[in-house]
Amino acid sequence: MPTVSMTVNGENVSSEVEPRTLLVQYLRENLGLTGTHVGCDTSQCGACVVHVNGKSAKSCTMLAVQAEGSEVSTIEGLADGDTLHPMQEAFRENHGLQCGFCTPGMVMSAIDLVQTNSNPSEQDVREWLEGNLCRCTGYHNIVKSILAGAKTMQG
């Protein structure tokens, strides 16, 4: 079995994995980082979005070995101790989550959006979320949260 090494939330990790192990499996099953979720088997729901080298990526579409040497960050790595990341805080403030299952993917996607476009419009947000499904909220409050989070992130 090949060995794979990467940094996850700032820590170096290295493990032997079956070559067919997906990144999301590696995170959840090998590293116990179960905040990243699996909602589909056709790469369409976005519950599994993490950051790989700073960009959002669906971790179900990537093999763990493809992330060799990368910097991966997940929802668990966002908050600074007890202080939530501004995007997390915005979701809380604006009731941007209900069951919470899509939430990690939504938040990770949203942060990447704001990194790409620091002042997104409502339409930008809605289009950016094309790859993230939420069944609970009707997106209304997610969009509101992301717009608010974008504002705080700009400082």
């Binding site: 179960t34 069951c99 947000v125 069944r135 609970c136």
Partner: protein, 785 residues
């Protein structure tokens, strides 16, 4: 009102764990020595199982064991039960064929369970599954309802013509008479499209058997752990309830689809004892598509009789409902008591008759999905009312006004069994008209027309019966369970509280809403209350969460338990303060002797209860811990009006929902932030049903919409912002005066959207369109008109 009392938009306490990735969903949990299961499923809609050869697969690497339906049958595992018995018109009970957790002699839908492979790793289980050789003798499938009713292919050999039951409600004769007096009769035929619930978390289970105690523990994605314990323990596996613990911590959405007792729960629990090791199974999304119970799927013909002024005289409804291959847990109640009983809507129709033929087909079982029966009913009524408006030339607003039940008519007895307790339908209706700027529509239409677009506005009013349910009523109608709810308020010595509720939180925010009720009632700080749910090992009992019942039935149970706490605490306070109990006042967490300044804080009383040094041991037990069961006197009846505005590009058939206004009467609002979220989410699902979602089988019974590539889910960029508000009349059926909010969106929205589309296209001659109104369908309708 403080920031956390009843009525305040308190931020949710559960959010922090979800936002930091620390939720405890079933698939997140692992047990020591855990094995993994894969389930082999039928690729055929209907086939005899001639031989299941597992010999080669058993020898595959990592495989611990493989079981089939025959192994379960040999252990006398029971049939998955149905919780609601319906009787046909002729008085005969519904046909209730067996539902083995794994197929024994026959598979009846694509996705039916054939074998379970248990291996050391997930991939070993999956690899080994490929090596099971099954010899199927393929049989003709009954896929659509007409085909099924012809009886050519029998889903269950002992159910003639595949008819589960042929049910009726209402006064047939009175209804026929109303038609002979009618000035005008308006008729409609429509389909309520089959939907797949698609909670974002796929179902999962981890089962564990402890050989030393003989106890079973099942972690499962359910909305009602106690109900699963009862059904699985008593009917399927014969495990006494004290030996079986069901745990369902965080659940990633349910919408009804996680109410039911599913085969995998029984298979895993049974198999965990066979192999004496914990086993985990997690559905892949493609398994969810062919195993989670589907929703809706009705075909209906209806006629409405009107007098010369446009008043409704009578309504006649004939529906065929697809129940799928097996009776799911509540499948039989959905097209009957959750459907036919609501056909009066908010209108004064004096005579109603409805008959429903429920049909087995070789498709996934159909059961409750958000709204369950009530969206089907509302869609029918509101489409019919709009059609009546058109055919009589009366304005759609006016025809609704004329026929609406008036506020002074409550309690209002409908001709279809229900008695509405309170309401003010005209108020929500008029508020919605204002909020949507209905008056200003024509200028918006003009503007759209100027851009080459078609614009339409559509109204829907609805009523639903929720807060399910008064046990006596439910029992009389065939329910095999009571539908009360329970709560336990455990006050700890220092005055903090754990509330155990029998309802289940899978996104609704109970941990916040219920804490508001407790903190407000007991006058203690909000952060001193913790809500516990979802574990039969912790929570005394409960019937779970569905049918918008948590607050309407579970809430009063909480209130009742809190009141018992106050009563007992008053006795303790009276003793310590040396006053008579009748003189003790309780307010804002303080017990005082009326007319004096002698008082005790809540924490002092609770401490006395647990440190009974100076305590009336002879009269009172130590401790401050109370249990309550609450059974409602009536259903609660949320109602409201939804108005949708659409713009259609006639070139492409694309429908854009530009505005959506919902005004709902849901009784007292405990947390307005959560309420708005519930309505928004429901409306999104309703718009999904109207415009995008639809489940399609081919004629062999293969599911063609079996993934997110083919089943269109609403996404952020095809929904508008939603204008949501409440216009409440306090509920009269429970002491919290609440009504329920979980389902209103998915009930009210679909007809509003379709009525808007038909309004937009009526100038082009389009008279009908079916859901989902996809661009191609709209385009076709325009071109066929």
């Amino acid at each position: 009102m403080t920031e956390t009392n009843i009525g305040a938009p308190v931020k949710r306490v559960e959010d922090k764990r979800f936002l930091t990735g620390r939720g405890r969903y079933t698939d997140d949990l692992n047990q020591p020595n855990q094995l993994y299961a894969s389930i082999l499923r039928s690729p055929h809609a209907h086939a005899n199982l001639k031989k299941v050869d597992v010999s080669q697969a058993k020898a595959a690497p990592g495989v611990i064991d493989i079981f089939t339906g025959s192994d379960m049958a040999a252990d006398e595992v029971g049939s998955l039960p149905c919780g609601w018995q319906i009787h046909s018109k002729d008085g005969s009970p519904m046909n209730e064929p067996g539902h083995p957790p794994m197929a024994v002699s026959k598979v009846r839908h694509v996705g039916d369970q054939v074998a379970i492979v248990i291996a050391e790793t997930k991939s070993q289980a999956r690899d080994a599954m490929e090596q099971i050789a099954v010899d199927y003798e393929v049989l003709p499938a009954a896929v659509n309802m007409d085909e099924a009713l012809s009886g050519k292919a029998l889903v269950h050999d002992d159910v003639p013509n595949n008819m589960c039951f042929d049910w009726e409600i209402g006064d047939k004769e009175a209804t026929e008479n109303s038609f002979s007096d009618a000035h005008k009769v308006v008729s409609i035929e429509l389909i309520n499209n089959r939907l797949i619930p698609n909670a974002m978390e796929p179902r999962a289970a981890v089962a564990q058997f402890d050989p030393s105690s003989g106890n079973y523990t099942l972690h499962t994605t359910t909305q009602n752990p106690h109900v699963i314990r009862l059904l699985m323990g008593a009917f399927v596996l014969q495990i006494p309830e004290h030996k079986l613990r069901i745990i369902s911590h965080d659940v990633g959405g349910g919408f009804g689809s996680k109410i039911f007792h599913y085969a995998e729960e029984a298979i895993l629990t049974w198999a965990s004892a066979k192999v004496s090791q914990p086993i985990k199974w997690t559905a892949e999304r493609s398994e969810s598509f062919v195993t989670d119970a589907h929703g809706r799927d009705h075909e209906t013909k209806a006629d409405l009789a009107l007098d010369k002024d446009g008043k409704f005289l009578g309504l006649r409804v004939s529906t065929k409902a697809n129940i799928g291959a097996y009776l799911s847990t509540f499948g039989s109640s959905v097209p009957t008591y959750l459907y036919g009983t609501l056909l009066a809507g908010v209108y004064k129709t004096p005579a109603i008759y409805c008959e429903v033929k429920t049909v087995f087909t070789n498709t996934v079982p159909v059961d409750a999905y958000r709204g369950a029966g009530r969206p089907e009913c509302t869609y029918l009524l509101e489409r019919l009312v709009d059609k009546a408006a058109k055919e009589t030339g009366i304005d759609p607003v006016e025809i609704r006004r004329i026929n609406m039940i008036q506020p002074d008519q409550f309690p209002y007895q409908t001709p279809v069994a229900l008695q509405y307790d309170v309401g003010d339908y005209p108020k929500a209706f008029e508020t919605a008209l204002k909020a949507s700027d209905y008056e200003g529509f024509s200028s918006r239409r003009e503007k759209s027309e100027g851009n080459g677009k078609k614009r339409g506005i559509g109204i829907s009013t609805y009523i639903e019966a929720c807060g399910i349910a008064p046990s006596a009523v439910a029992g009389a109608l065939g329910a095999r369970a009571g539908l009360y709810e329970s709560a336990q308020v455990r006050v700890h010595p220092t005055g903090s509280v754990t509330l155990y509720t029998g309802t289940h939180n899978h996104g609704q925010g109970h941990e916040t809403t219920f804490a508001q009720i407790v903190s407000d009632t007991l006058g203690i700080a909000f952060d001193q209350v913790e809500v516990s749910h979802g574990d039969t090992g912790e929570v005394q009992f409960g019937m779970g969460t569905y049918g918008s019942r948590s607050l309407a039935v579970g809430g009063p149970a909480v209130l009742k338990a809190c009141n018992k706490i106050i009563d007992k605490a008053k006795k303790i306070a009276a003793h310590i303060l040396e006053a008579s109990e009748a003189d003790i006042d309780f307010k804002d967490g303080v017990f005082s002797v009326s007319g004096t300044d002698r008082e005790l804080a809540f924490g002092e009383v609770s401490l006395a209860a647990y440190v009974p040094h100076n305590y009336p041991i002879e009269e009172l037990e130590p401790g401050l811990d109370e249990n309550a069961f609450y059974d409602p006197l009536n259903f609660s009846f949320p109602a409201g009006c939804h108005i949708c505005e659409v713009e259609i590009d006639p070139e492409t058939g694309e429908v854009e929902v530009t505005d959506f206004t919902a005004v709902d009467d849901i009784g007292r609002v405990i947390n307005p932030m959560i309420v708005e979220g519930q309505v928004q989410g429901g409306v999104a699902q309703g718009i999904g049903q109207a415009l995008m979602e639809g489940c399609v089988y081919d004629k062999e019974g293969q599911l063609l919409t079996g993934s997110y590539m083919d089943y269109t889910m609403p996404r952020a960029d095809n929904l508008p912002n939603l204008n949501v508000s409440t216009e409440s009349v306090l509920g009269a059926s429970n002491p919290l005066e609440v009504k329920g909010v979980g389902e209103v969106g998915s009930i009210g929205a679909p007809p509003a959207v379709i009525n808007a589309i038909l309004d937009a296209l009526s100038s082009l001659g389009v008279e009908d369109i079916s859901m989902p109104a996809s661009p191609s369908k709209v385009w076709q309708a325009i071109h066929n008109a």
